[in-house]
Amino acid sequence: MTPIDSNDSPETQRPITDLLLDIGAGRTEAIDRLFPLVYDELHRIAHRVGSNERTDHTLGTTGLVHETYLRLVDQTRVGIQDRKHFFSLAARAMRHVLVDYARRRRALKRGGNQEPLRLDEGVTAIDERAETLCALDEALTRLAVLDPRLAQVVECRFFGGLTEEETADVVGTTSRTVRRDWTKAKGWLYRELTA
């Protein structure tokens, strides 16, 4: 993998790793502090990738969260538990990053953007995706009220790109349960989006 930017010096890693360890030690306020940093990083990646056509690194790689993990966290200091926390956070951050883009698109369209309405396929597909992402995000928020675990599974699998095993780790259950959860959640979401 080609590194996107060389932001993985021990200098930047240190505070993030410390915060991660803090979370592991039970200091939940560190979550609030770590989240923005992870968000920033993911956003930076999206930004670079998105604005540079000629990159051999596409946004769609499911390894994005893993890659970020490797870059931001000092592996020698953390354990499996900590990795779990990071993934959970990163999945959520990824969700925010993407939904932000979607909302921005919506806002631009609504907010007096001078762009003429084109019937060009490419453009409307983008609008469609933006809309869908927003709807999904909102539905997911509602699902979280009903059943937080299902929502987290979706966040990990869909937004975070984590595997079933990794998701099971984060959520604290078995792969089998994750699979079942995934089915139920998808059913529910589908229903919400099409009703």
Partner: protein, 1010 residues
């Protein structure tokens, strides 16, 4: 049917079922239908777990077995079954749904947006400008260097535009426009100016600012190796700029060296109001209400931690005090060469903790050896005050901070230091010689923390004369008592004064001019300490001497005359004071011209005398003239302006313009809080007056709070008593009394009176005032003899010293009449009340609440003596006046309404009474409390009205409540009113035929003390 393939895209809600998702929907229709699907009611979590349980079971089975299972599991709950079935169906369908990772799915979206709205590359055009390159990062995104694309001239600007790469759009754009708007409103040489702004073709706003090329403040100072004074000078310009912004209601919130550049020409420029906020709004940079949103706005860079105030870190309200804090950090750095917090690690968390809780070591300790000496003392204190963790303990404004630095540079005492002997003495020694009166000014300030500004003002206008003699004299005095034992201030002060007076006679016999001056000084000091007898004697001698030496027109004579008049005023001998002041005024106008500050202060003093004499119009004019002069003088002598405002406020309060008084007094307090020590007596007086006004406006609790603050300070300064302590006690008693706490009020008045009798002559208006108030409180608590005696004393004294036309005399008449009336001594009461009313009408006009008060008392008397018709007329007029003159919800309005309501009840017009009593009850419940005696009286009247209107259930509630609350009110008044309640209850139950209850209450009535 929606097609699902392994790379399936998410379902498109186009309403065109059966078509591929990429088919172009009608413009807009697509969006609407999706939105439509969103607003649905979600089932509750309990319901959901039921559903889920069954669903789990069903999913485990093969499709054929499911029907039977569902039959069993959902027996009796068809809704449950249908829910589960629908979900089952969807679960089966969703093979490809969400299988493509979100990042992939969103990729085209992201790419498009980044492409379209990516950061400006060099050469990109924005409005009339062309982007050259990125020039740095601000609080909210990048700043670009751009050039104007004209042939004529290539002006360079700093360009800011909304660029993605940060969070929510709407939010971002709004913040951006706010910054633009803020900059547009600021026009100051030391703030980077907004040049123009516009909107890009994409619909995103941009603006161009003055491009500032310069070095951050700290580096600039270091590179040029600036001295402490030079650094302070630079810092002062920053304070000016920040103050200007504050005055335009903008809090910067991100002050740091990087945002304060110094150009090559040495000009300071304040930059980047990117996370600035309009004052009055709370919240940290870019935060919305929800924590989630706050996390999202993370792209807005959080304020630089090193310069952030504790409240900013905690996410609390950010105010001008936060900017003051940041300025403090900046100042610390400039002076000491390093920042106040340097935690061991470089963790953000550690730094936060240090800022919130850690102790700061003074800059002098942190600095290098060369500068340490300069920093120790004043500058240390100034910096630490600005860095106080409590926002309210810092300087109230950037101006105040700058002011203190300027005072330090001028070798004047700074407000950040405590007010001790040694400090002020030391200051004096360093100050430049300012003449005779400077020496005497020191004496005064050393002996009691008295306002020395007036002195300094005069000093500045004088030439030095006899300086050496006076200084030697004073030094001689000081040598006798060790300046180090500064604790027992008053005692050593008196000793000094006695010694001083003796020595003036003996030691300066051959120098009459010096004698005259010093007599004046000593006289004034005695006056300030409340020793009026001594003061009078000294001053009279001083005037005589001055006349003999310099004739009738000398400026020194004018000074002595004014000093003497001051004491006369305190003694209550107003006419004499009036004449002395007019003499002084004439001299000063002749010697210094009509615009001189000494003329202004004489005008003010004269105004005060006129006020005390009850001549309000002339007083008003005099105060305003003084205010005008002071405002115009050399850019404004603020403390003098404050004094004028206060005098005006007092006057307005007395004449009934309560709102006007409130504004004037608040303005005075504002100036004084800014410029004076928080325990300064002059500030205390201001607060007291504000409290008094608060009482007049009915804001009792606020007033009480203020008075307690004043009292605490005065008691600490004068533990043995002083007229000012009495002032505060009396003021506090007023507020407490107004809330119905009579016993507490009585003991406070007693204490105040004791002090006043000790210090003041017996007819002094303040003493009599306390006598009057104490009498009234005694009446409330049932000490009728004490009440009557006190009121007679007050009335006699005021008639003697002030005449009939004075407000106080009228008050005394009114009070005595009201007390007699309440006791049933109507024939004695009526003439007094009528006289009071007549006097008030003729002296105050028809739009005054005091007139209404008299009318009310008279109205009640008339009611009680059976003259209902006249009573109604009178009470109606009273109510009309109070409604016109007082603010809504004022307790006096409730008083009149209650009286009128009771009358109307007795006249059988309960329908008219009810609305009045409802309003009165609401006011009294709020202002006096729901269980206060007065409130209960109103409740009772309302109960009577409701009974008369045939609403017995409501009536009963009020009558019972009234009785219950009055039952616990002590004293004669309480007993009387309670019995009245009982009477009404008896009447009520009898009329309803409930003889059991009627008998019960009749029995209670019989056993109660008549």
């Amino acid at each position: 049917m929606i097609l699902l393939t392994p790379e399936a895209h998410l379902p498109a809600k186009s309403g065109h079922a059966g078509r591929q998702s990429f088919a172009p929907p009608p413009a807009g229709g697509h969006l609407q239908s999706l939105h439509g699907g969103i607003t649905k009611a979600t089932p509750s979590p309990e319901r959901w777990s039921e559903v889920e349980r069954v669903l789990d079971g069903a999913l485990d089975l093969d499709p054929e077995e499911r029907a039977a299972f569902l039959e069993r599991a959902c027996a009796g709950d068809p809704a449950l079954r249908s829910d589960v079935e629908l979900l089952l169906r969807d679960c089966d369908r969703t093979e490809g749904f969400l299988e493509q990772p979100a990042a992939e799915y969103a990729a085209p979206l992201v790419r498009h947006l980044e492409e379209q709205l990516g950061p400006p590359a060099g050469g990109m055009r924005v409005g009339p400008y062309r982007v050259v390159r990125e020039a740095g990062h601000g609080g909210m995104g990048a700043v670009y260097l751009a050039e104007r694309d004209d042939d004529q001239y290539r002006k360079q600007v700093a360009l800011k535009l909304v660029r993605p790469g940060l969070a929510l759009d709407d939010h971002l754009i709004r913040r951006f426009l706010e910054e633009r708007q803020i900059l547009a409103s600021l026009d100051h040489p030391h703030i980077a100016r907004l040049l123009e702004g516009g909107v890009t073709p994409d619909g995103l706003p941009w603006f161009a600012m003055e491009y500032v090329e310069g070095t951050p403040l700290d580096r600039y100072a270091d590179e040029r190796q600036l001295s402490i004074s030079q650094r302070l000078a630079l810092f002062l310009t920053v304070c000016d700029a920040v103050q200007y912004a504050h005055r335009n209601l903008v809090v910067h919130r991100d002050l740091k060296p990087a945002n304060i550049l110094v150009t090559a020409e040495g000009q300071v420029k304040l930059l980047d109001f990117g996370i600035a906020k309009l004052a009055g709004e709370s919240s940290v940079a870019g935060a919305d209400a929800s924590a989630a949103a706050r996390r999202l706005s993370v792209g807005v860079r959080p304020m630089t931690l090193e310069y952030a105030s504790p409240e900013q870190i905690r996410g609390e309200a950010v105010t001008v005090a936060s900017d003051v804090y940041s300025l403090g950090v900046l100042l610390y750095e400039l002076l000491a060469g390093q920042r106040p917090y340097r935690p061991a690690g470089h963790q953000r968390l550690e730094l936060e903790r240090a800022i919130l809780e850690g102790e700061i070591s003074p800059p002098s300790l942190a600095a290098g050896d060369e500068t340490r000496r300069h920093l120790r003392g004043d500058l240390d204190s100034i910096v630490l005050k600005a860095l106080n963790k409590e926002p309210s303990r810092r300087y109230p404004s950037a101006d105040a901070l700058g002011e203190d630095i300027r005072r330090h540079l001028a070798c004047l005492p700074v407000t950040a230091r405590p007010n001790t002997w040694t400090y002020r003495a030391g200051k004096f020694i360093r100050r430049r010689r300012l003449g005779v009166l400077a020496a005497t000014a020191v004496l005064i300030t050393l002996l009691g923390g008295l306002a020395s500004t007036a002195w300094q003002a005069r000093v500045a206008a004088r030439e030095a004369s006899k300086e050496r003699e006076v200084r030697n004299f004073l030094v001689g005095l000081f040598r006798v008592s060790d300046p180090m034992e500064s604790r027992g201030r008053d005692v050593s002060a008196r000793e000094l004064l006695d010694r001083g007076a003796r020595q003036v006679d003996v030691g300066l016999a051959g120098q009459p001019e010096v004698q005259s001056e010093l007599l004046g000084v000593l006289g004034e000091i005695n006056g300030q300490l409340g020793l009026y007898g001594r003061a009078d004697t000294l001053l009279e001698r001083s005037v005589r001497l001055s006349r003999a030496l310099r004739g009738e027109s000398s400026a020194q004579l004018a000074d002595r005359l004014v000093e003497w008049a001051d004491v006369r005023i305190e003694q209550g001998i107003y006419h004499s004071a009036d004449s002395l002041l007019r003499q002084a005024l004439a001299i000063r106008r002749r010697q210094f011209g009509p615009e001189d500050t000494s003329v202004a202060s004489t005008l003010r003093a004269l105004g005060s005398v006129e006020r005390r004499l009850g001549n309000f119009e002339p007083a008003n004019a005099l105060y305003r003239e003084a205010l005008a002069i002071h405002s115009r003088w050399h850019g404004g002598d603020e403390l003098a302006v404050a004094m004028d405002l206060e005098s005006l406020g007092e006057l307005l309060d007395e004449t009934g313009d309560l709102a006007g008084a409130d504004s004037a007094l608040r303005a005075a307090v504002g100036i004084r809080r800014r410029l004076l020590d928080p325990t300064h007596p002059v500030l205390m007086r201001s607060l007291h007056l504000l409290a008094v006004n608060g009482v007049s406006r009915g804001e009792y609790r606020e007033a009480e709070r203020l008075e307690r603050e004043v009292l605490a300070v005065e008691q600490q300064t004068y533990p043995d008593g002083h007229p000012w302590v009495a002032y505060a006690l009396h003021g506090l008693a007023l507020t407490v009394e107004a809330q119905g706490r009579f016993d507490e009020a009585e003991s406070l008045y007693v204490r105040a009176l004791e002090i006043r009798r000790r210090f003041l002559p017996s007819d002094h208006t303040e003493t009599v005032s306390t006598v009057n108030n104490l009498a009234l409180v005694r009446y409330r608590t049932g000490d009728l003899a004490g009440a009557e005696a006190g009121l007679r004393e007050a009335l006699a004294s005021w008639q003697r010293t002030l005449g009939d036309g004075h407000i106080n005399t009228m008050t005394a008449l009114n009070n005595l009449g009201a007390v007699f009336s309440d006791e049933g001594r109507y024939s004695e009461a009526e003439p007094l009340l009528r006289q009071a009313l007549a006097l008030r009408r003729s002296n105050l006009g028809d739009s005054n609440s005091d007139v209404a008060s008299s009318l009310r008392n008279l109205g009640i008397l008339l009611h009680r003596t059976g003259r209902d018709g006249e009573s109604e007329r009178v009470l109606t007029e009273a109510l009309a006046i109070d409604r016109r003159v007082l603010p809504r919800g004022h307790p006096r309005i409730a008083e009149v309404e209650t009286a009128l309501g009771e009358l109307l009840n007795d006249r059988g017009r309960e329908a008219q009474a009810e609305p009045l009593l409802q309003e009165a009850l609401a006011i009294r419940s709020l202002k006096l409390g729901p269980t206060a005696g007065a409130t209960a009286v109103t409740a009772r009247a309302l109960g009577v009205a409701l009974a008369g209107l045939d609403r017995p259930q409501e009536a009963e509630v009020f009558l019972l409540e009234s009785y219950r609350n009055l039952n616990s009110v002590p004293g004669q008044w309480g007993i009387r009113e309670k019995n009245e309640s009982l009477r009404r209850l008896v009447a009520f139950y009898s009329s309803r035929g409930d003889h059991k209850e009627a008998t019960r209450y009749r029995a209670l009535l019989a056993s109660a003390t008549p």
